[in-house]
Symmetry: C2
């Protein structure tokens, strides 16, 4: 990138939007959406190859830009990963807050099932919304396989506030269960559904192919029942 080009882009950044560059491929992602286009391609590559297996060269080639531009916008591969995670993770956390708001507006003491459903539904919807939504869910389910310090920091930043509100609400409607136990059970819940969202093949195996009789809504319903019973388990 020449100094002049770099300066032009800095100015564009200062105006709060990214500037386009002619795309090397078919022009997809060029223009003011270039930044989002790069994130879309990065998300697909991270979902397929994981953090360690992904490389900027491939992301650049797929997005039709050069690696220097990606570095200029986002920094290192780790920074790009974080940005992908924050973009869609923020949407998810936001939907969870809004769902809980609605639930608490309707009742001071919603059922455990309603609380679990409000928590799970946004990620469920994201998985089935688009190939990129599904890629983010896969990226997310792989996150615990990434270096722990990095993964924990990101999850804390993006999810802690909303998860803790759910834990507090569950503690309110399950006064007989100590809050620490509810927190541990909430972690079991997160594990079960993240794994599940990426593990439909294995469920197919274990049901010996009968999974086809379960639609995605019924599967969510099954998961809500299972996890609600677990949250309510006697001490």
């Amino acid at each position: 990138m020449s100094e002049r080009e770099a300066k032009g882009e800095l100015k564009a950044k200062a105006r709060g939007r990214a500037v386009g560059r002619p795309s090397r491929n078919d022009g997809a992602g060029a223009g003011p959406d270039l930044r989002d286009g790069i994130l879309d391609h990065a998300e697909l590559v991270f979902a397929e190859a994981g953090f360690a297996g992904a490389n900027l060269r491939e992301i650049a080639a797929r997005a039709g830009v050069n690696q220097g531009l990606i570095r200029y916008y986002f920094g290192s591969k780790a920074d790009l990963f974080d940005e992908c995670f924050r973009r869609r993770g923020g949407v998810l956390a936001g939907h969870r807050h809004v769902n809980l708001d609605r639930l608490l507006e309707m009742s001071d003491a919603p059922s455990v099932e309603d609380i679990v459903y409000a928590y799970l539904k946004p990620q469920w919807d994201m998985k089935y919304s688009s190939p990129n939504g599904a890629a983010f869910v896969a990226m997310q389910a792989r996150l615990h396989a990434e270096p722990e310090e990095h993964a924990l920091r990101l999850r804390r930043e993006v999810y802690d506030a909303s998860v803790k509100r759910y834990i507090a609400t569950l503690a309110l409607v399950l006064p007989q269960i100590p809050k620490d136990i509810i927190s541990v059970r909430m972690a079991f819940l997160v594990g079960a559904y993240l794994f599940m969202l990426n593990d439909l093949g294995r469920i197919g195996d274990l049901t010996e192919g009968h999974l086809t009789s379960f639609g995605k809504d019924e599967m969510l319903d099954q998961l809500v029942r299972f996890l609600s019973a677990g949250l309510r388990a006697p001490l």
Copy 2:
């Protein structure tokens, strides 16, 4: 490797054991245990870097052998991964069978809690038995992030028989729940505990550091209660 060396090794292989080679480093893993030594090092690298991130060069360097020898014994990186998985996964599946045998000897209708405990305990013990046991558990928890066809084939081969025996036993003691639903719930169970075994950091976050008050046995106990309640959930 000279033709003569290769022939000698083939003969040793035919006798059912691997032959040693002088080690390049400190001699660790040389001798008849060389094959197991290579698998131990491979396990650690696969656990740290995942399948995509691992490379034979690093495994060879850590094991103090050359890459050619690894290829000779095991074949490709995928073959080496499979061999690591089969070695310890076979032990795990065996322990699960034996635990279920014992349970069914004592009673025709064991409790759901006892069945879940019999299933979870071997992997729990493996995680805390040694750094390599822990590495295998991490490798296993990452498996669903590996290319799906490969992961499913391996899990089928190593685990299907034992998991299906557990599903059949659960179906026996929970006659009110259709077997397909039990199978789906069993998949939820696998997800929750695999994730959990690798996700203690996140549990620490969600309990705001109170995790320290939970020993590993209490954590297993909590998981058994949670999952048993889930398996028993009304339809």
